[in-house]
Amino acid sequence: MAKPKFFHFLGCIIPHRYPSIEKAAKLVFEDLGIELLDMVGATCCPAPGVFGSFDRVTWATISARNLTIAEEGGAPITTGCNGCFASLWDSAHELKEDEELRKRVNENLAEIGREFKGTVEVTHYVDVLVYTAGFDKIRKKIVRPLSGVRMALHPGCHWMRPRALKQKDDSERPRIFRELCETSGAEYVPYRDELICCGAGGAVRTADIKVSLDFTRQKFDSINKAGGADIIVTPCPFCELQLDLGQVEIQKHFGIEYQFDVLHVVELLALAFGHDPDEFGLKTHLQYMQRKSEPALDRLGLSA
């Protein structure tokens, strides 16, 4: 069988702030026999809640420009970011539904000799892991199950919402992301506020960092009320930044200290597939860089 191939859409936060996610994705996809192709010249998706809030036509045009790179190359896109996924997926969808928008976007794109044709499929790592690789294959690759590790989940918003449009999962009772994370062998810890937003999206982090961090605090408190967790796992680098670096910022702004190791789902799988934390640079998470601390490897069942 031919190797499945995907254009790897990096976005901004993964390659520029959390490169460990990019590296972990490469390790995990390689292990699963899935090829990731460079998407040369791709830009910011651009952030859906930010640029979509400023000017919908410009947002859709820059996003469509990214889509045309994959259309030219003739392979679907995959991304490890809920925000990038939302921009690329939503714009592809809206451009197919809304003729007026498509006309205006293609007029803009004509300026740079490009045209959105509507042939590209947009996926998230979660989709590729669950549906292209499949749980059976993933389970076979688990050589270091994270048994006994208490794992809280933060699925985030934009992969599964809006539900009626995305049709990925039941956004009130999602199970797909949980099932994927549970293949790692870690123990799922339910908490009341699992499904609320991390607080970073919609240009709120840029508008008012304290309001934004207040969402994050609510999540942390809710996890602690549920008995605490060793790790928080998310499918999104912007959520990861908010939950990881956010701990340092919460300490600065509110004087409250939390200690959670935060992992992207591909980082979780990289560990469970037997890769050492240093192979993808777990310790480069901004929380550790700023606190001059280290991941709590003993809590992960990996001796330091």
Binding site: P15, S20, V40, P46, F51, R161, P162, A207, F280
Partner: protein
């Protein structure tokens, strides 16, 4: 609109032109709202700020454009789409809020921080750019090439974005030239 919150706003006849604007900008179902409050009841932004999505929608339907687009709380929605998934009337409140924000920005209501983020994409192709050597070192330290294959290492891609944002009017909208000038002057003063 003279709007001290304590004074009631007199509305004889709702002005529908604002709602029309919102419908055209990405919130086509706004008029179906029957004010049940499911959206606000679900809203994590409303739980901690004075942001009330139901109120904004009602005000918009009444044509209170200035009050709606100039309110700072309009920017507290994180676009989590919880309200959109729960609204019984398929108003798509999140999309309505984004559409209202588009109208606000078109009328000059844009925070400085948002203008700066927008300008980053025009300048570098990325809202969060690879703007320090330390970020390249971070990449190298995890075994990746220091510059990724995105726009960071491909100036032609940034050129394409520049052309798009010029022709779409986005540069003007965010006052890109003025921002860049101000930044350059600030840098000069530092020297």
């Amino acid at each position: 609109m003279a709007s001290t919150e304590s004074q009631p706003i007199v509305i004889d006849e709702p002005d529908t032109s604002f709602a029309e604007m919102i419908r055209a900008t990405g919130g086509p179902n706004i008029q179906s709202c029957f004010q049940c409050g499911t959206c606000s009841g679900s809203c994590p932004a409303g739980a901690r700020t004075n942001y009330l999505v139901r109120l904004i929608i009602r005000k918009a339907l009444l044509g209170l454009k200035e009050a709606v687009i100039s309110a700072p709380e309009l920017w507290y929605c994180t676009t989590c789409y919880t309200c959109q998934d729960r609204c019984p009337q398929e108003v798509n409140p999140t999309d309505v809020i984004k559409a209202i924000r588009n109208v606000a920005v078109a009328h000059g209501h844009m925070l400085m921080n948002h203008r700066k983020t927008a300008a980053k994409v025009v300048e570098t192709g990325h809202a969060v750019p690879l703007d320090k050597e330390s970020w390249q070192k971070l990449r190298a330290s995890v075994g990746l090439e220091p510059v990724p294959p995105n726009a960071s290492g491909n100036p032609w891609a940034i050129e394409e974005v520049r052309k798009i944002t010029k022709v779409s009017g986005f540069e003007k909208l965010i006052g890109y030239e003025e921002l860049m000038k101000a930044e350059a002057e600030k840098a000069k003063k530092k020297e």
